[in-house]
């Protein structure tokens, strides 16, 4: 481990980190933007769900390197080549969690909201989505962490990010560079995960003390990793 190299290259490391962030985070944002409406549709029209689920799980089995290589033909050496496949992977986690979360809303709560005069849309936004949110958050955490790791594939095709430290370190036979790249990736993931836990804590005050919600969220976290 060559600490002097690390100390004298903080600018480079910062640059790689900043290149890495959009490639890892934008897919989660796009993934949420697609999977929330898609999940709502799958709950509303249950027949849609099996084909959507099958499509997303096939996408998940695709080796990422093949997907990247194929996209190279269309999007070239731009960040889109990384962002598009990672968005697809994110969907395979999130759609399931949105659907499970919405299906977990107790029927009594739904009926109570209707009885209080909520229109279907308002009921969805004000009641069902908030109750589903711990489960959706669990999926978002898993997707964020794995995207931060997968985005390093960008380095293999030379478009920067922390993965660039791996390929450069390999070519220069410099293990320190690779090790620092791995460490930064894991630290970034842990920090991002921590931020999501805090955001969730702030946004869902009712869930803090509710054991049942906590158990559901935990279960969803375990399930999202499988």
């Amino acid at each position: 481990m060559d600490w002097e190299w690390v100390a004298s290259h903080t600018e480079l490391l910062k640059e790689r980190l900043l290149e890495h962030l959009p490639m890892a985070i934008l897919p989660v944002v796009f993934g949420l933007m697609i999977s929330i409406p898609l999940g709502i549709a799958c709950v509303r029209w249950p027949r849609m769900y099996p084909p959507v689920l099958a499509a997303t799980s096939i996408l998940y089995g695709l080796p990422s390197i093949a997907l990247f290589a194929l996209l190279l033909n269309f999007t070239g050496l731009s960040q889109a080549t990384v962002i598009i496949p990672l968005t697809l992977y994110t969907l395979s986690v999130l759609v399931r969690n949105v659907v499970d979360g919405l299906r977990g809303v107790p029927e009594s709560v739904r009926q109570a909201a209707t009885a209080m005069g909520f229109s279907p849309l308002r009921r969805l936004v004000r009641v069902e989505l908030p109750i589903a949110s711990p489960v959706v958050f669990a999926g978002t955490r898993v997707a964020t962490v794995s995207n931060i790791s997968l985005a390093s594939i960008g380095g293999l095709i030379g478009i920067g990010g922390l993965g660039q430290l791996f390929t450069d370190g390999f070519q220069l036979q410099q293990p320190t560079r690779i090790f620092v790249g791995i460490a930064l990736t894991v630290i970034l993931a842990v920090v991002a995960d921590g931020i999501l836990v805090i955001v969730q804590w702030v946004l869902t005050p009712w869930a803090r003390r509710d054991r049942q919600t906590a158990r559901r969220a935990r279960r969803a976290l375990v399930e999202a990793t499988t």
Partner: protein, 221 residues
């Protein structure tokens, strides 16, 4: 360019099925890498998960550090080990095992933890020793979840074992990396499709195993 058609022609051409670069050889290599990696991961993660689940200590740490372990970039670990020890099977094995441990560990732990406490108390009450409680009560009840973890790990390994080709070994990844290098997209797509097919077969194999080994009393759930 008619990529799917070309990929199909590659797939059905007799040359694709012969020799050291033939589909049977590459498939065999891929299954070998995946199998060894899965066995290593199982040998590490299941005993650890059983221990933590049975003693119910350190669970919080396990679930959260398993999530952090997902952040380990496979390509980085591969290249680091190659740089340190050189080309070989070990650099491929290390990232695959690291990838497979978290899902097996978390599911084994969760599986044991979710066994109803009354059941464990009752088995202690009828005089079973701790080892027997684990072996004949907790493990059978937790088996569906343990198998789910192993299945997830196996699918991820199969999809990721393509990286072996990145450091010059064999496996189905050869088609993807060689196809990319030679601009033969038909070969690359063919390789990717074979990997997906192998992943789907792995999944159905585990569904079959689950039907065979899970106690009939639990299947109703």
């Amino acid at each position: 360019m008619n990529a799917p058609g070309d990929a199909w022609n590659w797939f059905v051409s007799p040359q694709s099925w012969q020799g050291a670069d033939g589909i049977p050889t590459r498939l065999g290599e891929h299954i070998f890498y995946s199998g060894v990696a899965l066995l290593c991961a199982v040998a590490i993660a299941i005993p650890l998960g059983l221990l933590i689940g049975h003693s119910n200590r350190g669970g919080f740490v396990v679930v959260n550090s398993a999530n952090a372990a997902r952040a380990l970039p496979t390509a980085g670990v591969l290249l680091l080990v190659v740089t340190l020890v050189g080309i070989g099977f070990l650099p491929v094995l290390v990232p695959l095992v690291a990838l497979a441990i978290p899902p097996i560990l978390v599911n084994t732990y969760e599986g044991i933890r979710q066994v109803e406490p009354e059941l464990v108390d009752a088995s202690r009450g009828v005089g079973l020793r701790e080892g027997q409680v684990l072996r004949s009560v907790e493990i059978p009840v937790a088996l569906p979840l343990i198998l789910l973890g192993v299945r997830t790990a196996a699918i991820q390994i199969v999809a990721t074992a393509t990286i072996a080709a990145f450091v010059g070994l064999g496996g189905l990844g050869r088609y993807i990396f060689d196809g990319l290098a030679r601009q033969e997209y038909a070969v690359m797509i063919g390789g990717a499709v074979l990997v997906v097919a192998l992943a789907l077969m792995t999944e159905s194999a585990f569904v079959g195993i689950q039907k065979l080994v899970v106690s009939p009393g639990l299947r109703g759930r």
